[in-house]
C-alpha cells in the first residue's frame, strides 16, 4: 500500500474565503480539514471543521467539564439561528498554524505513526518543494485495507 493510493486531492483555504466555503470544500472531499496557504502558495496552517466549531461555539470551560454536562446546558447552547452568522464569517480567525505533514514517498505506517504523534486523523501530503499534494486520512487508509483484503 502506497501513500498515493490513500491520498485525496482537495482545494485549499486562502485569505478572503468564508467559513461556508471552507466547510463546503471539506464536505465535498470528505475530509476533516484542508490546508491554508499564504500568497506564495506555501502551506502555513489548516482549516478544520472541528476547530472552527470549537472556537466559534464552545467555550473552553465547557470543554474542560464536558463530562459533567447534563441534558440542558442552558445559556451555553448556541442556537441554530446563529449558524448562518458563523458561516458568513471569514475563515482566517479559525486557522490553526500547526500543520501535521508528510512527504509523498513516506510509508503508510509512517503516516499512521505521525497521526498518533500529533493526535489527529489526517495529514497533509507536501512535497520537497513545499507544494501541497493532498490529504491522507485514517478512514482512507482503512478503506484501502478493506479493498486490498477483497
Amino acid at each position: 500500500m502506497e501513500l498515493k493510493n490513500v491520498m485525496t486531492a482537495t482545494g485549499v483555504a486562502r485569505s478572503g474565503m468564508t467559513v461556508r466555503e471552507g466547510f463546503r470544500e471539506c464536505l465535498r472531499c470528505e475530509v476533516p480539514g484542508i490546508p491554508y496557504v499564504d500568497e506564495s502558495g506555501k502551506v502555513v496552517g489548516r482549516f478544520s471543521i472541528r476547530e472552527t466549531l470549537r472556537r466559534a461555539c464552545i467555550p473552553d470551560v465547557m470543554v474542560k467539564y464536558a463530562d459533567l454536562l447534563g441534558d440542558a446546558p442552558g445559556c451555553l447552547v448556541v442556537s441554530a439561528e446563529h449558524a448562518p452568522q458563523l458561516l458568513d464569517l471569514p475563515l482566517l480567525p479559525f486557522i490553526k498554524y500547526e500543520v501535521a505533514r508528510i512527504t509523498p514517498n513516506c510509508a503508510v505506517a509512517t503516516a499512521v505513526a505521525l497521526m498518533e504523534r500529533h493526535t489527529t486523523n489526517y495529514l497533509f501530503v507536501i512535497d520537497h518543494q513545499n507544494r501541497y499534494v493532498g490529504v491522507v486520512t485514517v478512514w482512507a487508509i482503512a478503506r484501502r485495507m478493506l479493498e486490498l483484503k477483497l
Binding site: P59, D60, V61, M62, K64, Y65, D67, L68, L69, G70, D71, A72, P73, G74, C75, L76
Partner: protein, 457 residues
C-alpha cells in the same frame, strides 16, 4: 526558624550566653541587608521567576556569609523551617490525592443546583464553601478548582461571573487567616512562635468570622447591580454531579486521611507532635490505602513554591545572623515595650503588613518580620498580640489588589479567559472594589483587635 530554635535562642540570650546585639551597623549587616534588598527587588520586579531570584540570593548570602565569617552552611540549613516546608509538602500531596477524585467538583455542582435560582444565595454559598476549604487546604488550589466551575455555572444560568470570581478569591484569602494551616504565613508564624492549632483557631477564628460577615455584606452592596437577575437568567444548572466523582474509593480514602489530619491538628499540642507530622500521619494512611503512582503524586507538589520558601529562609537567616534584624528589633523595642504603646504598635504592624501585602508578595515580608518580632521578644516585649496582628495584616492585605494574592491572579485569568463582555476583572476594577473591601476588613479587624486586646495578649 523553627519554634524550638527560636525559644532556645531567646533563652540563651536572656541568660547572657550569646553575645549582646551590636547597636551600630556593621559590615556583615550592610552586606547581608544589600543581598536581601537585591533579592527581594528581583522577586518583586519579576524579571525572572521568583524561585530563581530567591535561590540566587540564598547562594550569594551563604557565599558571602562564609567569606565574611557571619553565616555558615550549617546555620543556613538550620534557618530552613522544616516544619513549614514539610507541612506545605504534605498538604500539597493530600490535595493532589483529593483533586483527581472529582469531590470538589461534586460539591460545587451540588451547591450551585441548590442556590443558582437566586444569584445572591449562590454567591453566599460559594463564598462560604471556599472559605471553609481554605481554612484547611491551600487557597490557590481551592480557587483553581472552583473558579473555572464558577464560570461554567454562571454562563449556564446567564449570570456575570465577575462578582463571583472576585468573591471567591477574597473569601479564600479571609478563610485562610482563621487557622494555623490556612495560609503559608500562618504556618510560619505558628512554627516560629510556638502557637498550636487550637490556640490559633480560638484567637483568630471568631475575628475572622466577623470580618467574613462584614466583607460579605460589603460585597453584596458593592455588586448589587451585577447580582441583579438579568433578562437572560435561566437559573438552571445543566450539570450532572453524579458524573463528577471519577474515583469514589479514592475520595473516601482521601477524606479519611483529611479527617485524621484535622483531628490531629486539634490535639497535636497535647501529643507533642508538630503539625507537619500530623499531616504526614494522615498522608501515610492514604498512601497505604490508595497506593498512588509516586511520579504522578510528586508531579503535583509545587516544588517551585517549596524551594522558594527554603531559599527565603536561607536569605533571611543570613540577615538574622549578621545581627541586622536584631538591631532593627531592638530599635523598635523602646516603643513596643511600653504597654500603652503596644496596641498602637500592633495596629501599625497590621496596617503596614496589609498595605505591603497588597502590592508585594506577603511571604518574603512574613519571613523577614518573624525574626524581628522574635528579637523584640528577647528584649522583653510581649509579642503575642504582634503575631495575631501580623497574621491578620498579611492575610487581609491580599484582597487589596489584583496581585495581592495568587488566588486573585487565578480569578483574574479566569475572567479574561471566559470572554464574556463585562466580566473581565481589570486591575482598575479590582482596585475600585477590592481595595475598599480590604480597608473595611482592616477597620473591622482593628476594632476587634482593640476590643479584645487583653484576650489577644
Amino acid at each position: 526558624m523553627g519554634d524550638r530554635q527560636a525559644h532556645a535562642r531567646a533563652e540563651a540570650l536572656k541568660s547572657g550566653m550569646l553575645e549582646q546585639t551590636s547597636t551600630t551597623l556593621t559590615g556583615p549587616m550592610i552586606v547581608s541587608g544589600l543581598i536581601l534588598v537585591v533579592a527581594y527587588a528581583l522577586i518583586f520586579a519579576e524579571v525572572m521567576h521568583r524561585m530563581h531570584a530567591a535561590i540566587i540570593g540564598a547562594v550569594a548570602m551563604v557565599g558571602i556569609g562564609l567569606y565574611g565569617g557571619f553565616y555558615t552552611q550549617e546555620q543556613a540549613i538550620q534557618a530552613i523551617d522544616a516544619n513549614t516546608m514539610l507541612l506545605l509538602a504534605g498538604m500539597m500531596m493530600m490535595v493532589a490525592l483529593l483533586r483527581h477524585t472529582g469531590g470538589f467538583e461534586y460539591l460545587a455542582i451540588r451547591i450551585a443546583k441548590r442556590t443558582a435560582s437566586r444569584p445572591r444565595h449562590l454567591l453566599l454559598s460559594l463564598a462560604l464553601v471556599v472559605s471553609v476549604i481554605s481554612m484547611f487546604l491551600d487557597n490557590v488550589t481551592t480557587v483553581i478548582i472552583f473558579a473555572p466551575l464558577t464560570v461554567l455555572i454562571c454562563r449556564m444560568v446567564g449570570l456575570n461571573p465577575m462578582p463571583y470570581l472576585m468573591t471567591e478569591a477574597m473569601m479564600s484569602n479571609i478563610g485562610g487567616i482563621a487557622t494555623l494551616v490556612g495560609d503559608p504565613p500562618n504556618i510560619m508564624i505558628g512554627s516560629a512562635a510556638g502557637i498550636d492549632f487550637n490556640r490559633f483557631l480560638v484567637h483568630m477564628g471568631p475575628m475572622v468570622a466577623i470580618i467574613w460577615c462584614a466583607t460579605v455584606i460589603l460585597i453584596l452592596a458593592r455588586f448589587r447591580r451585577e447580582l441583579a437577575t438579568p433578562a437572560t437568567f435561566t437559573g438552571v444548572v445543566g450539570l450532572d454531579e453524579t458524573r463528577a466523582i471519577t474515583d469514589p474509593r479514592g475520595l473516601k480514602r482521601g477524606l479519611a486521611g483529611m479527617a485524621v489530619i484535622i483531628a490531629l491538628f486539634f490535639v497535636h499540642h497535647h501529643l507533642h507532635i508538630y503539625p507537619s507530622f500530623a499531616t504526614f500521619i494522615g498522608l501515610a494512611l492514604v498512601l497505604f490505602l490508595s497506593r498512588p503512582d509516586p511520579d504522578t503524586l510528586l508531579k503535583n507538589v509545587e516544588w517551585t513554591v517549596l524551594l522558594f520558601f527554603a531559599a527565603l529562609f536561607v536569605i533571611v537567616g543570613g540577615v538574622e545572623n549578621s545581627g541586622l534584624l536584631a538591631l532593627i528589633g531592638h530599635s523598635l523595642a523602646s516603643v513596643a515595650s511600653d504597654p500603652d504603646l503596644l496596641l498602637i504598635s500592633c495596629l501599625l504592624l497590621m496596617w503596614v503588613a496589609a498595605l505591603l501585602s497588597a502590592i508585594i508578595d506577603n511571604i518574603p515580608f512574613t519571613v523577614t518580620m518573624i525574626p524581628i518580632v522574635l528579637s523584640l521578644e528577647t528584649s522583653g516585649v510581649n509579642v503575642t498580640p504582634m503575631w495575631w496582628a501580623l497574621a491578620l495584616g498579611v492575610g487581609l492585605g491580599g484582597n487589596g489588589s489584583h496581585i495581592g494574592a495568587t488566588a486573585n491572579i487565578i480569578c483574574v485569568s479566569e475572567s479574561e479567559r471566559c470572554g464574556i463582555p463585562g466580566s473581565r476583572i481589570t486591575p482598575g476594577l479590582w482596585l475600585r472594589h477590592g481595595f475598599p473591601i480590604m480597608l473595611a476588613g482592616l477597620v473591622v479587624a482593628s476594632l476587634l483587635f482593640t476590643l479584645f486586646f487583653g484576650f489577644l495578649s
